[in-house]
Subunit: 459 residues, 4 copies
């Protein structure tokens, strides 16, 4: 997953990009970067780590210009070297281009092999570089025609921003997998993965970038081109609602907090357990838990305390510290839990290992019964469009029935929200969402040998 | 405010101290330090910033030993140079001493002037150095007698840890201002400001260090000395319950979460407003809000979203970004708030400026009415015992009536918990707590020219 | 100017490369880099600054492998960013290549424009990248045929090393502008710009790489290919003898110290002045001064002291410190110079500004007469083959007669060695050297719009 | 050994101190520091490494003020932590003092023990801190009387600078062991270990600070106090001439270059060998070699080349690189040495190990005979006054006769200058110099258990 942010027409474009990325930090904590243009020349700064670690006042001051593109990247693979950080910038025939990409191409391997056979030299293993090499081949035709050719060549999920010396360009794949919204700020334009980035800089939301659309923003204003027609099979990622987007964002036209509270209310309709109170695993289960408590009439408690004051620690615990990685973030309040029947709400179970240690911590705090409800169906299939699930073999629900999972987690009861319940809460009954991680029905044909890190194997 | 942590008798003492400080990070974010002894030699590492920034695996590995003392420091003054970080270590007549101190001495100025006149050279402006200079004068009498003499000389609030080559020593002032608790771990001992530090490393809580007590832990076990009798006027800091301690800690024998929930329930008894739902300012108002919702039967919502994913930012916002410092942390969810009558719960109001921008952000999100309840009485007096309140002139309640504050904050209603309500919720009716910040009745006579940073004026 | 070094067949190849570059540091102080292969995988480390600043034990330890290529770079232009540091490595169609280059291509502009029109994307502005892009186009033909095609395409001066996963390859332009020598060490091979690098690691000198030759060193030994015939107009750079190479090196088959002493002896034959002693400007004039003293019978003194103990300073002097940049390095010994007639020996005068302040410093130390002799003819033309002279307009001898220069430098006498004298001392009467900087007769046709930094303008 | 530098009355005092230390870098390469006062407040910056590494433009800009004191430190012991770097600054009773010290106290152990017994806490193991603790005890009497009392208490070698908020104070021990000179610059004053520091900043030499003198420089000018009478046994360090001072300095009123050339001329009178040319070990033997060549009529060559272009390397050589530590700095020119009878001139032999590898390198370059002359007598006794010789056991001449040393070094001939020859060349026949390292006759009684690092053991 990644977050992208672009701005055109603001004296402090880099600073706005900084805060835009800051608001989108939840979409990627591995690297951050900003490229900026003053109309003639592009400068960039990138680094490993959080936005607030990568940039300081001094680096921002040097990024002078009124157009900027920023990117935060998430990756769990070895490929996470600095050179793969984005925006990715190149100079070709006296022009500079900077690209920021959210999503995953599904035909990147064939494209790269074909380009290398023609003599292209690649610097990175990221999809975005393929887009730029394709662009360089046809750049002489003008950016509009060139980008249209590129969009006809690439396949998969892409919400992209392209920076040139004098333009900010946004384009989105015809299936509309990943969100991308457009806003205005004092006569300038802002493009961002989520509306929470607009809120922070006090920009006004205008509309979403449309599937298959290219938006070119220059000194003469905004130009929209429907480069390729929207796919008849729209495939918005429903997992943005379940887990990924920030609760205070609107994505795909809906407020995430309200959707999550509805998911909790649906859960309360589908499953009741005999318990003393409802509590979330913070913060992933917070809003569904509020919905569950409201619909069920059960008291709401915050039975595990999240340690907010600390940074991330990379220190390995001493051997004697069992379940440390959970406790360092979440401490159960024994005085609240001891002797109680507890209903825990969470948004999803992926591998099951984290949930298991969390449940154990609650049991050790003295709970007499522990029930759990999950605000989506079991995740059984990998995602090829940008969500970094583990391979199928590691997804606990791909190999185990719900009863087995309940036993593995040592729960007294477990309920997953039904597919229908989820679709209803998400107002997604019209089939315009991708739910492949639950159903295995992919909106694009996927060859089975493909993996997210296919390019890694080249060198 | 500060947090202190000590361990005796564990092979990885520095690592335990690291995690102990990590759990105590909320007590001080400015600097962190650990001193460790292997029985013969003391090493230390200190730095500015969070525990996770100051230490890495490499620095911890070099801190070999089975005895350790750690410290996190909070300060808003210019005095926050690295040289004032603790533990503060000196070598004197072939012995090394490291001290970590939570609290404030009230006669530090006289003591320092007297010592300098005799030729003592000070390296820092911290109280802890005074304690060590006094100790050096009488060190030849043995640590037990020497420390007793020192405790008879110094006045004010002090919960301290002293590390020598072969001992861990804890001592606490006779009024018992600051908490300090003792635990055991696999036959070794742990001393910490709060029990949440014991929880993280899975140590068992034993008891509190008693007012006026010296506890000396060495290879022959633990020795307790009542160096000076406990003061008949006990003065435990009630603000540890209201705001300072972590909700999952027990301090002064009570669980902080439960106390805070009781404060919210008391508020619901004292003040009702005609509103649609209750919401906290996260996270300071969380537990009182849960209590208020439970006692009042009103729905509980999380109407402002705290941005958890980000580090601290030091970048100044662009001029156009009004109320930025609030919005960067807390984003109101417009879809929840718009058109609603909102009751906001918070723990305290100090200067009033932060509360004011928060209230404004909620009003801009579209609230029709905003009421606020505060889980303690108005703070009217400075603290000389270690809580870093601003000077009296800056405390909004020192100069203004509640009605004026309500008007300043632009609220439709405001209620502070009564002193009696607070004492009852805290089970503090027996007068054993210091409530001077609310009442002005100080348990120790304070000369009016004294300020926390008096030593700063020396050089 | 640059220095290059390669090694094949030593367990600590990176460490040898480090010391080889250390010995070649005089050929480039701006950046340093080493790429190493363990037979399967190439790693590199590069940085701005001196070899000893760029590498430490830790970085060297991580460069594991038995084949290595290193490079030190000299540049006075703005183009000196880290990304232009060498060796320059790319991965193409699953193979990695690292190149290190000494010299300058004279048709780089046309080549780059042609490649970009075909869609190639460049990362840097260095000639070496052009060589790799050309190679990528024909790489499928095998390294031997591919490199031959590349050498037929590029023009100008190049002594190059190419590292692949399992080979070390050296190749040199058909004119033989820059030196490149081959040595052996315990059964392995070493290639270096100068023999002083072989001396330091105790390798044995074998022979020079021949003009137009490709030498491929792999696990089956050394293979020599005369890829293109040596040019009938050999053009070895005579300035390597005058100034550039280290005195303890042999280049082009001759010892540099002996050549320089001969230059001094020739000077003594050509010009005698009535003076008390001979002194060099250290260290550039040292060996010619020894030769002059020996041939003339005059006493030799070290009248200005070079400050050896210091690093480089980047601190600007206070305004009152006149001629500071000279004095910080060279301090005249007043007690030696006062009242004396001094003959100063130096190797060359480029802009004249440095010489002028040096002469002034000697005059202020009290010399009664100052004469100067220079061990080469006046430099009047720029170099397009890798020596970083300033543009013609800045070369003092391009615009001024010797008498004018003498007056500008405030000398009582000035003599430049004659072209014939220089050729005789260098044993270069056979016309196999490039002397274009003195004569303007370039061995390759140069289009007048060309400049060394042509690629910088791309931008 | 150390170098000290002070300035009073210049707007850019810190910058002058920087360049003064830069010129004195040969007196200490381990740490560097500058303390500066603007008349009210003292700031300092210190670090490990060379002056040019410790300071940059930014750190210097922050050291605002018109009075400055600087120090470079040399130490081969483990005691070289940053905290022992100088100037050493303390604040006492609202005043700040910064001290810089060249030399060694001989009664430091007794003084420290006495002070600690009275409760003083030491931060470092350097002599300078003892001076400040003594000063703190009597500071209320005024600086003049207080310093006089301190000088009556301490024993040994000390040339010191003391910085207060508004004064620069210089004082020197009554034996005059270490040099210290006074200069003027644009109406301000400069104090430095050697005159080369005055030359670099273009200050005029005025006179030496006298043995036993205190010079106090303030806004009302310079005040001289003969605090204690000069010792009848003056003990200027003759090794400053032989080895330590820079050749372009005057110390103790004589020019070092001329003295060293005289030492070489004396050597030529005392010892002749049948050889082809004279060469120095650069740069320690340079000036004596010039003198020897001049007096003997033999040709002068620079047969080993010093690698000037490199920084220091801390990389360990590969095992196969024999005598690496010599070759990395000095490369013999085989073409000069092969088949020749060589006379090598050097200034001293301490342990003999370095000389031995150097001689071996010359032999491997093909010399037929190697003779060596040394410009001082054999060093047989340790120095307690600031020269960092090894302990007696490691001094080769303390345990071996000249013939044995010749055999150990594998020489065909070896001659040390006689004591009389040295005294004559140094114009030191009047007995006013300390020659204890040659004779064992110490000018101050030394207790045999004393060592330079005595304080280290405290621990």
């Amino acid at each position: 997953m990644c977050g992208i942010f672009g701005v055109f027409g603001h004296r402090e474009a880099a600073k706005l990009a900084y805060f835009g990325l800051y608001a989108l930090q939840h979409r990627g904590q591995e690297s951050a970067g900003i490229a900026v243009s003053n109309g003639r020349e592009i400068r960039e700064h990138k680094g490993m780590g959080l936005v607030a670690e990568v940039f300081d006042e001094e680096t921002l001051v040097q990024l002078k210009g009124h157009i900027a593109v920023g990117h935060v990247r998430y990756s769990t693979t070895g490929a996470s070297a600095l050179k793969n950080a984005q925006p990715f910038c190149v100079t070709h025939s006296k022009h500079t281009y900077g690209i920021a990409h959210n999503g995953n191409l599904t035909n990147s391997r064939e494209l790269r092999e074909r380009l290398e056979a023609q003599g292209s030299i690649f610097q990175t293993t990221i999809d975005s570089e393929i887009i730029l090499h394709l662009l360089a081949k046809v750049a002489s035709r003008g950016i509009e025609e060139a980008l249209t050719i590129v969009m006809e060549t690439i396949e998969g999920a892409y919400s992209c921003l392209l920076l040139t010396e004098d333009k900010l360009i946004a384009f989105r794949d015809p299936h509309g997998f990943r969100p991308l919204c457009l806003g205005i700020l004092n006569g300038g334009y802002v493009v961002a993965s989520e509306t929470c980035a607009l809120d922070l800089i006090q920009a006004q939301y205008l509309r979403d970038i449309r599937p298959g659309e290219i938006v070119i923003i220059g000194k003469d204003g905004l130009q929209s081109i429907q480069a390729i027609p929207p796919s008849p099979r729209q495939a918005r990622c429903i997992f943005e609602f379940i887990y990924f987007a920030r609760p205070d964002s609107n994505v795909f036209g809906e407020n995430v907090y309200l959707i999550r509270r509805s998911l909790g209310e649906r859960l309360a309709e589908e499953a009741r357990f005999d318990c003393d109170f409802v509590m979330p695993f913070p913060d992933s289960g917070n809003y569904a838990a509020v919905g569950y408590a409201r619909a069920s009439g059960l008291p709401f408690e915050m039975g595990v305390i999240r340690n907010h004051y600390v940074g991330r620690t990379f220190i390995q615990p001493s051997q004697s510290m069992r379940d440390f990685s959970v406790r360092v973030k979440l401490n159960p309040v024994k005085e609240i839990i001891r002797g109680q029947r507890v209903l825990v709400v969470d948004d999803s179970i992926v591998r099951g290992t984290t949930s298991r240690t969390r449940v154990r911590a609650i049991r050790e705090a003295g709970a007499s019964k522990i029930y759990m409800v999950i605000s989506c169906p079991p995740i059984r299939f990998p995602c090829y469009f940008g969500i970094d699930f583990p391979s199928r073999g590691e997804l606990i629900a791909a190999r185990h029935q719900v009863e087995e999972i309940q036993r593995y987690l040592d729960l007294d009861g477990l309920h997953y929200l039904s597919l229908e319940g989820m679709l209803a809460a998400c107002r997604a009954e019209d089939g315009s969402f991708c739910t492949a991680c639950f159903t295995g029905q992919y909106p694009i044909e996927i060859r089975t040998d493909l993996s997210k890190n296919i390019l890694e194997r080249h060198p």
